[in-house]
């Protein structure tokens, strides 16, 4: 019995030393959790998945005209607080907030929050580049966002192209057209692709109009 007690005591002393030697407690400091999240005992992602299904159902109800999107933001924030690395949910929610809710600033706040929570993920600054350019027409911020995305591993090489084109032709419809084409190429949802292609057609019309204006403008007479 004495040996067992000594073994237990020695282990506890070693544990105490190991923990006191840490600059911070061994456990992670986290935000205060709500009761339902606390009882998940580390499986909060499962609850986040349920919230994801719930969010999709809610959005489906909105698309069918059953209700508005008044409860959309709290649902998204509840989900993202629980699982900040849920990329699909973050991007979907940002697109809905920018398009259906006409609130690109709010969408950017979610993307910026997700970028802080996942600093190694290129997708969040990359998407912020699109949002800044296409919705807010904030070219400097768009360029900075593409450059931040470029510093992350795995970023698509297109970021260099966009950053360079913004420097060269910030605000030109040709750059916006290329970005919408990129959105259409990478969109997984048909509705997003359709909206992007609609923008491409609109910008092509503007570009055609500009080129016709240039052509019809009379050249200076040499005679």
């Amino acid at each position: 019995m004495a040996r067992s007690l000594a073994l237990a005591a020695l282990s506890l002393v070693l544990l105490a030393f190991a923990q006191l030697g840490q600059p911070a407690p061994l456990i992670r400091q986290q935000e205060m959790r709500r009761p339902l999240e606390a009882v998940m005992l580390g499986s909060e992602a499962l609850l986040a998945d349920y919230y994801w299904f719930d969010l999709l159902q809610y959005f489906g109800g909105y698309r069918l005209g059953q209700h508005d999107l008044a409860e959309f933001n709290p649902r998204v924030e509840r989900l993202l607080r629980l699982d900040p690395s849920f990329h699909r949910a973050t991007l979907f929610a940002a697109v809905v907030r920018a398009t259906d809710m006409q609130d690109p600033q709010g969408a950017l706040r979610w993307l910026a929050w997700a970028e802080r929570a996942n600093p190694d993920e290129w997708i969040y600054p990359y998407e912020q580049g699109f949002f800044q350019y296409l919705w807010l027409e904030n070219y400097q911020e768009a360029k900075a966002a593409f450059q931040r995305a470029g510093r992350c591993a795995g970023a698509p090489p297109a970021w260099r192209h966009f950053a360079a084109r913004i420097s060269e032709l910030g605000g030109d419809p040709a750059v916006a057209r290329e970005m919408w084409l990129q959105v259409a190429d990478t969109a997984e949802h048909p509705r997003v692709r359709e909206a992007a292609l609609e923008n491409v057609r609109r910008l092509e019309a503007i570009l055609l109009e500009h080129s016709q204006e240039r052509l019809t403008a009379s050249p200076p007479s040499t005679s």
Binding site: S4, A8, P25, Q30, G42, D49
Partner: protein, 255 residues
């Protein structure tokens, strides 16, 4: 050591006869198949929901196996007088305890291994890509649940089945919430309560150390030093639990 090995094998054989093990595995397999079937409803998040559900299922199965099978088997052996009949042979109490413990850990490994195999098979059949760092995730579940096995063993040396179940579950849940004790200590103005909260915080197992499943599915694997820290912490805490259990068991009167 031979006695310990015999007791370990007996514990494993007992677990293999238990229907709970097969129920847990069967339920998980059904859940994963259903999730794979409803993939179009996840709007592109099929892999994430599949991995989340699979890892949570492995975690819950291991927890239930340790709580119910561990506590129940120990209680049933005591009620049937198996403890007495074993200890009247040339088997020391420490050997008996170690045999039961290694049996519990064997069951734990079996549950995690079988569940992981089902998960991989269903994932392969439905085309879900393999989760990078899955082995680390399974190791963390094993480490966390080995502490639960230690708690079950410790409590079963001095209480009955219901109390063992309740106390082990309570300490396990409190171990996951021990960060809140730090917050409470920072908020309270009473020195006594602060000392009490800090004492409880250091004494409870820090089970938040093993919270890696979300980040694994999110694409990041724990750093090697974090894995080593978790291994070291588990080893020390586990030794303390077993030492305490052996000390209590040595004084226990067995009838």
């Amino acid at each position: 050591m031979r006695n310990v090995a015999v007791l370990t094998l007996a514990g494993l054989r007992e677990a293999l006869r238990d229907r709970l093990l097969y129920s847990l595995l069967g339920l998980g397999a059904i859940l994963l198949c259903v999730l794979a079937l409803v993939a179009p409803l996840t709007l592109g998040a099929r892999d994430k929901t599949f991995h989340d559900a699979a890892l949570a299922w492995i975690h819950v199965s291991a927890m239930l196996a340790m709580l119910v099978m561990g506590a129940w088997n120990l209680h049933r052996e005591r009620e049937r007088g198996i403890w007495l009949s074993v200890l009247t042979r040339p088997v020391s109490r420490q050997e008996f305890l170690l045999g039961r413990l290694s049996g519990l850990l064997g069951v734990l490994g079996l549950v995690i291994g079988a569940a992981a195999l089902i998960y991989l098979l269903i994932g392969w059949a439905t085309g879900v890509p393999l989760l990078p760092g899955l082995a680390v995730g399974l190791l963390y579940v094993f480490l966390e649940m080995s502490l639960l096995a230690g708690l079950v063993l410790l409590f079963s040396t001095f209480t009955g089945f219901a109390m063992t179940l309740f106390l082990a579950l309570a300490v396990f849940a409190a171990g996951h919430l021990s960060a809140d004790l730090l917050r409470f200590a920072a908020l309270t103005e009473s020195g006594f309560l602060r000392a009490l909260a800090l004492g409880a915080h250091w004494l409870l197992p820090h089970l938040e150390l093993y919270r890696v499943r979300n980040s694994l599915v999110g694409g990041s694997t724990p750093a090697p030093d974090a894995v080593l820290a978790a291994l070291g912490y588990t080893l020390l805490y586990f030794t303390a639990l077993v030492g305490a259990a052996a000390a209590v068991f040595a004084r226990r009167e067995i009838r």
